[in-house]
Symmetry: C2
Amino acid sequence: MKFDPTSLKFDNNGLIPAIAQDHATGEVLMMAWMNAESIARSLATGQVTYWSRSRQAFWAKGETSGHVQRLVEFRVDCDRDCLLLKVDQTGPACHTNRRSCFFTVVEGGVEGITSDPM
Amino acid sequence: MKFDPTSLKFDNNGLIPAIAQDHATGEVLMMAWMNAESIARSLATGQVTYWSRSRQAFWAKGETSGHVQRLVEFRVDCDRDCLLLKVDQTGPACHTNRRSCFFTVVEGGVEGITSDPM
């Protein structure tokens, strides 16, 4: 079946959550949001482009930092309301300069930091 | 620092997205939503409980199907607006009886199915 980005279930703001996972290690790097046009751009260029909710603008990942995400595999979930992007991440995915945004762990009711900036 | 679920950034509906990942294989299994109380219940019991947006009710994963998720690790992202749950999943995570909800791949503009029901 031909893939049509508009067939996905977007929220009231026209957005869908996208999980970025390191294609080689399986590490979950980040979660951000896409609209139909950012999906089309990502598929067309092979470079991941999100929609920035804070800036209300397209966010070509790594455009200024150089920390680009090359799209290796694009997956859709059963409800068509979430995306999984397997990516080849250059450098850190997180704005704190860590490889993954998920560096805070909760254990025994206490928060801990699991990784340092690169 | 003591972890306080109310310190997270919830959306206008009081919800936060939670990614469930197989703790052993790294496979991303599903994405669902939690509120502060479902987070507290998950951490207290060690069994993952989401909030069902369609039913507007707590959703103790596997309560009826037996396909429970034991919480192995609980992570928070840098913006505190997304969760990563490393879980020990019994059987399929997906309601289609597949291990993961992300069984649809888009390649060359065409959708394909990557796994069969268990």
